[in-house]
């Protein structure tokens, strides 16, 4: 379970999160929508401790992420994150990209790590590309590789930060299909996205962020068909 309690976060003078409260249960898929600068991406990087927070706390399975005593490297093993820019490691093959962390972080042997990686890469449809270097892949393929790379650590939670925003439109579909598949398999996910149809399809709940505040959260049907907050209404009207 991920518990976000009254989280505040500023970059210099700019407060990007102004007291966020959100609890995500095991097996739940929560999507976060909202305009640019609403703080939704920042929230994800706070959850796995890549960014410090100024106030409040975040608990992952009861462990406080930003407590000084928390072993972040250990904690991150169970929280996978995939970024808008997929950040493939260019000097490693697709297979090596995926086996690196299991081998070096978890200390798994080469053969076993490769078996895990192969399974995950097949899962995302890259079974034919094991010995290819990432620069030879399309953006969509690189993004799916990044997803397999995160999954190879067998995380309990997956965070997706606008994973389709940097892709050519014709490549968005394949990545969303992969996310959909994960959701159906019961992965606990928080997805920040601009893809409204996707949010409506896969989410258990959809949250709308506006200027650092979670203006509204609810089941997709309710949020998209009967938004309560005036800002949600305005936003949805603008993206329709």
């Amino acid at each position: 379970m991920i518990e976000i309690q009254n989280v505040h976060k500023s970059f210099g003078q700019l407060e990007v999160l102004k007291g966020i409260d959100l609890t995500v249960q095991k097996g739940e898929v929560v999507t976060v929508i909202g305009g640019s600068g609403s703080g939704k991406s920042t929230l994800l990087t706070c959850i796995n401790g890549l960014e410090p927070i100024d106030k409040g706390k975040i608990l992952v399975d009861g462990t406080e992420v930003h407590a000084k005593t928390t072993n972040l490297n250990k904690l991150r093993q169970k929280i996978g994150i995939v970024f808008q820019q997929w950040n493939a490691f260019p000097h490693l093959t697709v297979l090596e990209n995926v086996t690196l962390a299991p081998r070096k972080v978890l200390g798994i042997g080469k053969a076993e790590a490769e078996a895990i990686a192969e399974k995950q890469l097949k899962h995302v449809g890259l079974g034919e590309k094991l010995s290819t270097y990432p620069t030879r892949l399309s953006g969509g393929q690189q993004q799916r590789m990044a997803i397999a790379r995160a999954l190879a650590m067998s995380p309990d939670y997956m965070l997706f930060d606008e994973v389709t925003s940097a892709l050519d439109p014709q490549l968005v579909g394949e990545v969303l299909e992969t996310l959909k598949m994960l959701a159906e398999e019961g992965m606990t996910m928080i997805c920040v996205t601009h893809e409204m149809a996707f949010a409506r399809d896969v989410s258990d709940r959809v949250a709308y962020f506006h200027k650092g505040i979670m203006a509204e959260i609810g089941a997709p049907d309710q949020l998209f068909n009967d938004p309560q907050h005036p800002e949600t209404r305005k936003f949805l009207a603008s993206v329709r």
Partner: protein, 221 residues
């Protein structure tokens, strides 16, 4: 021509001795590169560190190495430190001087290479549970070495050529030192130094061609 009679045979008879010298030259150059690369990685890390004194040490090193003559650096490693009662053999002094120079130039190359690698690479590594050091070792360092590979090759060539400065601190077992001693014995100045120049040329050519071969094997992406 100009009353000088070439006597190549006399000079060529000394070729085995000169090749022994070339082996010593290679030994100094290779050692100075290996230690230099390790020190350059260390200097790069110091310059990235948050500590002001560590940064200052690294920056001073790089500044001196790049902005003073290599001859001065080798001289200081021999006669300079001797003023404080520290005595090194010519071989050691030459090695220290060239290594100092290599480390400084390479550290600057590495810094440039690091700048070319986006921060998000480290971030991606950290998000997979890697420590800062693991992310550097497995993700940043290999990419950095690739970008810096060509400048490293140049520095290796430069290291070979810099060994000729060893004569100023009494080095006489390297290619240049051997040649100078043979010259004093035989006075076949032009022939001997022409042969030495050809050997230097062949060594550096082998280095650049070898590096190209290694690069094509190592960097497949």
């Amino acid at each position: 021509m100009f009353g000088y009679t070439f006597q190549w045979n006399q000079a060529l008879a000394r070729l085995p001795k000169m090749l022994d010298g070339a082996a010593v030259t290679m030994e100094v150059a290779v050692l100075s590169m290996l230690i230099g690369i390790a020190l350059a990685v260390l200097l790069t890390l110091l310059r990235l560190s948050g500590s002001r004194p560590l940064k200052a040490i690294a920056t001073t090193w790089v500044e001196i190495a790049r902005n003073t003559p290599a001859l001065f650096q080798i001289y200081m490693a021999h006669f300079g430190v001797a003023s404080f009662g520290i005595h090194f053999s010519p071989f050691t002094s030459l090695l220290i001087g060239i290594t100092f120079n290599n480390a400084g130039y390479l550290a600057e190359n590495f810094r440039g290479a690091l700048k070319a690698i986006p921060d998000t690479q480290t971030r991606a590594g950290r998000s997979l549970g890697m420590s800062q050091l693991q992310a550097f070792r497995y993700i940043i360092l290999p990419q950095m070495l690739r970008i810096a590979f060509l400048p490293m090759t140049n520095q290796m060539v430069w290291a070979v050529l810099m060994t000729s400065l060893g004569v100023t601190v009494g080095m006489n077992s390297d290619l240049y030192g051997v040649t100078q001693d043979l010259n004093a014995l035989t006075f076949r100045t032009f022939e001997l130094f022409a042969i030495a120049a050809v050997i230097f040329y062949i060594i550096t050519k082998i280095i650049t061609l070898g590096a190209r071969l290694i690069a094509s094997r190592l960097f497949r992406y």
